[in-house]
Symmetry: C2
Amino acid sequence: MNTLGDEEVARLDAWWRANNYLTIGQIYLKDNPLLRRPLTPEDIKPRLLGHWGTSPGLSFIYAHVSRLIGRTGQQAIYLAGPGHGGPALVAAGYLEGTYSEIYPKVSLDEAGMLRLFRQFSSPGGIPSHVSVTTPGSIHEGGELGYVLVHAFGAVMDNPDLLAVAVVGDGEAETGPLEGSWKGISFLNPARDGAVLPILHLNGAKIAGPTVLGRKDPAEVRSLLEGHGYEVLEVSGSDVPGMHHRFAATLEEAHGKIRAIKEAGWTGARPRWPLIVLRTPKGWTGPEQVDGIQVTGTWRSHQVPLAGVKENPEHLALLEQWLRSYRPEELFDDSGTPVELVRSLAPAGELRMSANPHANGGLLTRDLVLPDFRKYAIDVPAPATERAESTRRLGEMLRDVYRDNPDSFRLFCPDETNSNRLGAVFDVSDRAFAERVTDADVSISHDGRVMEVLSEHNCHGWLEGYNLTGRHGMFATYEAFAMVSASQTVQHGKWLQEGDRLPWRAKVPSFNILLTSTAWRNDHNGFSHQGPGLIQVVLTQRGDIARVYLPPDANCLLSVADHCLRSRSYINCIVIDKQPQLQYLDMDAAAEHCARGAGIWSWAGTDDGSTDPDVVLACAGDVVTMETVAAAQILRERLPKFRVRVVNVVDLMTLPRRKDHPHGMSETMFTELFTDTVDVVFAFHGYPGAIHQLVHGRPDADRFRVRGFIEEGTTTTPFDMTVRNRVSRYHLVMDAINNAKRLPPGATELKEWCERKLAEHAEYVVEHLEDMPDVRDWSL
Amino acid sequence: MNTLGDEEVARLDAWWRANNYLTIGQIYLKDNPLLRRPLTPEDIKPRLLGHWGTSPGLSFIYAHVSRLIGRTGQQAIYLAGPGHGGPALVAAGYLEGTYSEIYPKVSLDEAGMLRLFRQFSSPGGIPSHVSVTTPGSIHEGGELGYVLVHAFGAVMDNPDLLAVAVVGDGEAETGPLEGSWKGISFLNPARDGAVLPILHLNGAKIAGPTVLGRKDPAEVRSLLEGHGYEVLEVSGSDVPGMHHRFAATLEEAHGKIRAIKEAGWTGARPRWPLIVLRTPKGWTGPEQVDGIQVTGTWRSHQVPLAGVKENPEHLALLEQWLRSYRPEELFDDSGTPVELVRSLAPAGELRMSANPHANGGLLTRDLVLPDFRKYAIDVPAPATERAESTRRLGEMLRDVYRDNPDSFRLFCPDETNSNRLGAVFDVSDRAFAERVTDADVSISHDGRVMEVLSEHNCHGWLEGYNLTGRHGMFATYEAFAMVSASQTVQHGKWLQEGDRLPWRAKVPSFNILLTSTAWRNDHNGFSHQGPGLIQVVLTQRGDIARVYLPPDANCLLSVADHCLRSRSYINCIVIDKQPQLQYLDMDAAAEHCARGAGIWSWAGTDDGSTDPDVVLACAGDVVTMETVAAAQILRERLPKFRVRVVNVVDLMTLPRRKDHPHGMSETMFTELFTDTVDVVFAFHGYPGAIHQLVHGRPDADRFRVRGFIEEGTTTTPFDMTVRNRVSRYHLVMDAINNAKRLPPGATELKEWCERKLAEHAEYVVEHLEDMPDVRDWSL
């Protein structure tokens, strides 16, 4: 069955051959790019890097999607799951002209081609994988498993967009990828765009066969149908037969997608199409090398001919391989791709390498944000009222949802209500395309609040949503943010690199809300207690990493407003959801957050006229309460003892400015912490974080940090602070032990604290006998 | 169809009712455990914690598996994926008598029952989830998604073991769980035991419906059949009908498993059975509360009657609910379970709560280890030879495999060869139960090397293997260890807690080999460059966390030997796989590793008679090479400058002993680092790690740390060190800048270094033009 006319086949095949030629050139050649003379060892790069095996499949698909776009005008972006096939995607952008538009030195002629080859995987050049530098990409080809989450995030609220997502059979083995097929269970055909997954089974990964590559095709089909897809299959390596069959299948899939979208929501989740494409790994490459089969096996994964520089036979094979694409038909005398090749590309921004959805900063509009002050909690006096701080944030997010009906979403693993953000359900349901019953609450195909019990999906969807220019927040239990920590790392790397590319417009920041924190997972126990993500964010570069620990609701509102306005950061906001003391009225909160840290003179006994006896510093809600309580004990029981209380909201004010742009000035640091007085620092996270942040500050050794030291279980909130030695009594004793000048009564006060802690220990032991109300842990 | 006799139904149902009664008692009661008098508000706990929704399903399954064990003598362990149903598993151990054997105060009478109730989710008591304290468990019920990986790891090389793994429909949404169904593709029916997954669909999670719970059952079946299972289904809530149907289905599944195992390997992956069990969430609980449906909905997830202490109607409902189980039939006058209930339990160690496989330390035998010295590299002089260090480790692991044919496995995401550990294939193939072709190499159903492109599977399988008493190693690209970082955290928590329970015998350590490190992923680029896992391990308690950075092959062998002998630690070993300089002969290496850190006098110019001018310290292979090179430059060009080189292998020697048991003594610290001389520390990982570790050591401010500062791309190895400012030239300049006493020529040397770096920068810029051999980066 011939779907295509001869000219179409010729065009597709020419483009594909040109792409393969350029791919191999990038891996091997540092000279003689057009093979105007026989290949010599001197033409070969000193170090052969890159991944051939997946590349011809990636470019084959790319060519056909380009043809489809040309015929239909479909808005489409291309996500290469096996992004180690970087050279194929770079070559695609080059053949479409986009590459030269962005990087003029890589021109569409012989000199440019030589530069294209030399820059690949070279110092001063470009990375070997699909990366931030690759036009048309929103998906880094390094860590595998996230191609579908990025694709689904990209099409949410993008009704006209098609995300073609190639899934490699290696990455199909990863947990995150297997967990991401279910994206269609959350997609609304009327409001969202479409993802077309193409499962590209070439049968092998780095060193052996793959599970899906070796399963009975009927099992693979059953699996994907079970996920809810209509499975279309194309297999083979014959050309032009494969062109005809794949073109027909792609048109069929696109037709089904159009029909689904035209039908809109029909009351049941559509069966979206999915293509399984089976081609040999390293397709069109050298069949055998040194008598051993290479094509179709794991041996073609990277550089199939490794010895070309030393081995004349290998060199000859390489030349034969390169010439098999007939470069003389594909590039003219000046090295420019001929019209037959160039004419496959769609026009302008329809080229997948130039689609603005893949440079989402171009499409980013500021959020319509309400005045955060209107959600303020009235705080007539510090530390007197209790409130659930995140509930106020929920009210603010409700209005953000309302006012940005197609450019803001909240992503949360089944915990929106639990995290007290449920006000958003006043204006939007949870998204769900599976069956809904009358008994269900706030859930429908129309919903735009994203809840799935998968941090990987939530994180990845928001990344895709951000990178296509829309805003959002990922709210999760603090401990379980570690589930997707690697995604935080990799997305951070993307933002860091994007920041250095002038043509990449800044995208909305990735906002993480860590709630249900270690200190208040007293009811869930040790597995739920872990402030590890802060440590992870601290490893990222200062140009993108931000950590905020608002102590109360008004500070949270101010911080959230700031984060939702920012671009291209990783913003990590940490605050618990339980009722907690409120300290600052809105004016004070806004000022405090703008400074990032400040003295709370109302909490201490330091009149500011001279250095205090000790500084009690704190960052994080629960430890701030303990610090304020400790200061109160000291104020009442040692009134002559001069205690200064410093609260830190923006953790990145602590390092020196040369280490982080938020770092406070030396003057301000001295104003807060003095240069010599000991600082007892109660920190929400692991104590080491503060030690590393204050390194290089005047006499950093004087900072004694208390924090989470991996002591936890199901217990009471106060017991959590005792177990981790950051309770008010510990802080009082620390203050006394570290002060240089002690007033009378200090020794007695220490003894009093020790008694209090002994009473608590007895209470815990006896608790099983008398069970008093363990909720009582006020000041 | 009645599978069961009346007496069997009575026994099963009595046990199940008793379990449900005890579950609710744990959640609610602090007194009146046997309801000898009407319930009063004073009988109710002050704080209601726990998860009811999943519990009746968990205990229903447990009862039936117990019956099966009783009939067949099957060795079985039970893994509760939805382990937030902790009270059901605690009640099971209690009814089986195991609980009282381990915790005598929780006796099998009224006093013990009261203690059982009071201790649950209470300070000084036990956690609310299935946890380390729960006898019979190797699976913590906190972070969801790992039940199948643990189950598969447990049955590897355990041919007689059946792991019954209950998968909740919430956790079935997670990526790690979805990626773990494929465990059967790696299982050998002749050599391994069996996993029986029971997908328990009760339709809801915390706040809404689940994807699998709402899909057409035909789709769910298709999905699971696609994974390769034979799907058996049981649905309903009718009793005793459900007893009959589930018993029949469980027997059918067990029969199929026995048939598969008796057949052994038949040339194709068996279709292992799997049960889909559909019951209402909160089954047997209050149907409605305040006129709103609770049973069968997310509202029954935690505490379905929240107002019992204040609301008399709720209190009455609770009493009615408790009495619906007819406790007077289940417990005798003294509160002891009656014979009908107790008789369901299998005998002795066949009780799932007492099975030694679930307390794997009891079964742990020391590995038969070869003398690690015999794999030594000959090092006639330091820093003259290059070798791939991990290749020697591979040879050692080959012999460990050979000598421990059923108690050691290597787990690695498709990178065993890439990581130079391929010698293991001399004695074992990769495990694979899918189709194998003639062209495949080192892969078969008989293989025991575990390769799957999923860090989650590798990590989880090894956890399950370890916790059932066997040894192993997880080898992975350093950057991608972050994919499973949360598993490292959670397994660490398990080991930390287990260490405090005398009845839990110590299990083999979890050994992580981080190779293909940041510094030598110059060929793969930024996504592959990230030493983040060290930061994660540093957050764990000193009683279990260990980080080793052997600088060369002989040190690696010594460290590996030590780790393979150790118990109940997380051992993180970091070393690259590329050819690298070798420093120490085997005697010196063994001594160096035993001390954990030491002065390399051959590298420096410090004669030891007095304090040096500067200390150059290092930890990690590449940075050690740069440090040695820097010292050589200083030795040659500033011979009067006294430089001391200190190498650290065991990172945990740096903190004070009070912070970590490996912390070196104050005397040794001063001997190595002096008390006052500045230390330029070149570290493999993020610099902040060293700052946090040396906190509290004499004048910690004098430590200037260079390390990985998130600068990377595809480039040369040397350029990686330049980008991160840890190159030999940077270290020389740092040494000069920080030394207190400078000999003549120091300024000139700094200028020379700056010239060298400028030349390098030019080289990178010009590289695309001339492309010299970038592999040249010797000393």
